[in-house]
Symmetry: C2
Subunit: 516 residues, 2 copies
């Protein structure tokens, strides 16, 4: 997953999303810190986690919380990130015993603080020397697609350089017998065809003949209140470059994952493991896009698609994962993983294979937030030019402070282009990392007061708890994510509001109201 990038860079300082300032260290300070780390790590099994973003910080804390049967920590864990204004605050946060970027999972806060402050087996540094003391190096640096909106498969491009720089960084320092475990979602075939040659090259330069130990095990970290659980108590697939790598990987993963309840699944080769991750996320993206086109039909046919899907999802095992209509797809993975697969087909396997449906699904998902605009125009037929629109919800998941690729941003831009004044509200964030100059409203009732129309984009608890009696006047409402239950919509309607819901049609069903 991608690290949050702050726009408010200042020389010599790295500022966390919550405003905490960390002075960037000098090389001398970094070296001194490493000397201290090396002293503390002596005699211990060291795991280095490269990249302290969404995934890396949670993985580091999870590994640090692993114990033997006597409850003693198994590892001394070092998180490595860069001493840049973009990234250094994450190092600062971890060393303060705090989750970088905040978390909705109290277990995450607890195990990270415990590891740093009580067990003293987790720290973070910008020192690349730390790679040299690691028995295992876990790679959690992002591999980004340059532009997720490209239409032609030949145009799909990925930021190879940053990732390759990260690989070389540890290849130059690593112990010859260290295991490299790549958790990053990468194109199919990438570890063998791109990572391995780099490792071999750097190791050859160091005169190391020994075969490298390399494996891929994609993370399945799910932002939200089960963050740590999604690492420690969830199924995991992996594959090693060779038998020795696979063996070491199995042992390592089993040491911090509950492999008894969630048996580890070994694949034949790293490409299979890499494909597994991009396939499962493409599947999810596909199923979302599929329902979106039926949403459009349902609205035209005045059918409440939500109830139709409820009647289908009872078919356990075949249809129970059918998605509901929605506002849009955000986050880091579902918006780009399919592009990694297509890039791989074209550039690594040199085939003419086109993942037609898969890429079309991405296109549909990208445009999905604009459908809200259609509904909104029905309630504001005279145009948006002098209107104030409040969008409730910026994050891409409810009650999770994660705004990467927020679908709200897509809608916001179109609304502003159409001349509307846009306010945003979101109870899960204080500021919008990708749009730091956009004010995030704090008081929902006041914000509602100012708006000509409100869009409910994310089913945050606070919105679900909203009562019609809190409103100071009737509202125009577009419910883009089934935030209001049908019963509640009935109450709002009784209070004079006009409501349109995505995938609900214009008619009354189970209490859901006509707009007019």
């Amino acid at each position: 997953m991608k690290t949050v990038r702050l726009i408010r860079n200042r020389p010599g300082v790295s500022i966390a999303p919550d405003g905490t300032r960390y002075s960037l260290p000098s090389q001398n300070e970094i070296d001194q810190q490493f000397a201290e780390i090396a002293r503390r790590a002596e005699g211990k099994k060291v795991v280095v986690v490269q990249g302290l973003g969404f995934v890396g910080s949670a993985v580091a804390a999870s590994i640090a919380s692993a114990t033997d049967r006597q409850g003693r920590p198994l590892y001394f864990v070092v998180g490595i990130d860069q001493a840049s204004s973009d990234s250094f605050w994450k190092i600062g946060k971890v060393n303060d015993g705090l989750v970088p970027g905040g978390s909705a999972d109290i277990e995450f806060d607890r195990i990270l603080e415990q590891a740093v402050k009580e067990r003293n087996n987790l720290c973070a540094t910008a020192s690349e020397e730390a790679y040299g003391i690691a028995e295992t190096i876990v790679v959690d640096v992002p591999l980004d697609v340059v532009n997720t909106t490209v239409e032609l498969r030949s145009e799909i491009d990925i930021n190879l350089r940053e990732f390759e720089t990260a690989i070389r960084a540890f290849a130059r320092k690593m112990r010859r017998d260290a295991l490299i475990l790549v958790e990053t979602t990468v194109p199919i075939g990438f570890c063998e065809r791109r990572v391995l040659p780099l490792l071999k090259e750097e190791r050859a330069r160091r005169g190391i003949q020994q075969p490298v130990l390399l494996a891929h095990a994609a993370e399945r970290v799910t932002p939200g209140k089960n963050y740590v659980s999604s690492i420690r108590r969830f199924w995991r697939s992996f594959a090693g470059y060779d038998a020795a790598s696979a063996c070491r990987t199995r042992e390592f993963l089993a040491s911090f994952i509950d492999a008894e309840s969630y048996p580890l699944y070994e694949l034949h080769d790293m490409a299979s493991s890499e494909m597994g991750k991009v396939l499962e996320n493409s599947y999810r993206a596909m199923n979302i896009a599929f329902i979106h086109e039926w949403t459009l039909l349902a609205e035209r046919a005045n059918i409440n698609l939500w109830t139709v899907i409820d009647g289908i999802r009872v078919r356990k095992g075949t249809h129970d994962n059918m998605r509901y209509p929605g506002f849009g797809v955000g986050g880091y993975c579902l918006t780009k993983d399919s592009l990694l697969a297509q890039w791989s087909a074209t550039h690594l396997f040199k085939t003419d294979t086109v993942l037609e449906l898969t890429l079309q699904a991405l296109r549909i998902n990208r445009k999905m937030p604009l459908h809200t605009l259609t509904l909104l125009s029905e309630l504001l037929p005279d145009g948006l030019s002098d209107k104030t629109i409040l969008i409730c919800g910026v994050t891409y998941l409810p009650d999770v402070p994660d705004t990467r690729n927020s679908p709200t941003e897509i809608l916001l831009e179109e609304l502003e282009n159409a001349g509307a004044t846009v306010l945003v509200h979101d109870p899960a964030i204080r500021s919008w990392a990708e749009r730091p100059f956009m004010v995030v409203q704090r008081d929902l009732v006041s914000a509602l007061e100012e708006a000509d129309l409100v869009v409910f984009a994310v089913p945050h608890r606070d919105y679900e708890a909203l009562q019609a009696e809190f409103l100071r006047r009737p509202l125009l409402i577009v419910d883009s994510n089934n935030v209001l239950t049908d019963i509640k919509a009935e109450e709002f309607h009784a209070a004079g509001c006009r409501i349109l819901g995505v995938g609900k049609g214009h008619w009354r069903a189970r209490g859901y109201h006509l707009a007019t």
Copy 2:
């Protein structure tokens, strides 16, 4: 579901797929039979099932098997079909106490025989007079798409005439208070916009002012060994035209479905119920097409996709219904239901909505069987012109004698076009209803002997049980449906066979062998 159409029509005779001949009755005989039925039905609650095809015959038997708490039959059931050479054999079979077209479900055989021979509460007739004695009329006549291969949505056409004729047939005779329950999969909005006006028109002609009782409850009948279970012990959605229709429908369905274990789900209107069926089948078709494009990539990337999917399907509730690579999509529903939805969008709701992904999935599925041709050409690089190819499997489901829209037919045609001699074998059928002049081989080992290459298209038990030691010589094998386990493929390879498997790549993984 569609009735099997026999090509071997003869005047005055209707011949069942097993060869049994039934003389077509005269109108006089039909009238006499009805008089007898009316006598037997007197004082009983009569249910008429219109259409004795795959669905209708099973529904009729299921309703006839419903009892009150004392074990007494609730209904006298009359199945109606036409006195044509195409259809009359179904009437004959039912009256003989036999399942028309055969069944893989012993419960189906048992309850049908019991109803006809012991409980005497099920019979079949061609007499339309029987509609006049029904309290409930269940519509199970097919509504066919004229051509399932059309590319343009404006070209999608359905056989309205036959269906409308069927509706008029009972509208002219029905009791004014009879409930009409449509189980046929129809376009969204069809019952209200097409069926209802016809009923009103015919009833007005008869001077009936009373509102008609009409409902839609799509069947979810699954061919195979759980045929009757898929009617009696499975979830069911329904919707009535009005409250009275819905109430009658709920009561009726609950009388022969185990609604305690599988609660009935009432939808707001008939269009929602109609959409539910075409949506759930489109979803399935979509997921099949989605995996097919990843199958092609996996093969190019030398990845055993089967093992990758196994590693993904552990994610219960979100990914456990991911499909595996396959040979193709056959049957009556998945090949056409999406077209009904699109027809509806265009013709009933007059929208410009295009179900892009949904229609593209159908196109991909239609071409899927031709992928086997690609694999086959790799094993026979010198062309197919003087080669004999044995295709093992004609039905679209394993061990179910149902050959409608068999993907084998698509492959067969292409092979014959390429100059190959094609043999087919299938343990589940004696003859191929849609291709009555094609010999279905009976002896697998002899057929294997004759072939230059064998395609395993359907995972029938007989094929799974095949042992390498039965072979008289090494074979070229394309396994298009994971019929051979990887261990078995290993044995065949050891016996000198060359094997390619769909979605397996060319490499050795878990014992699955290289072709060369």
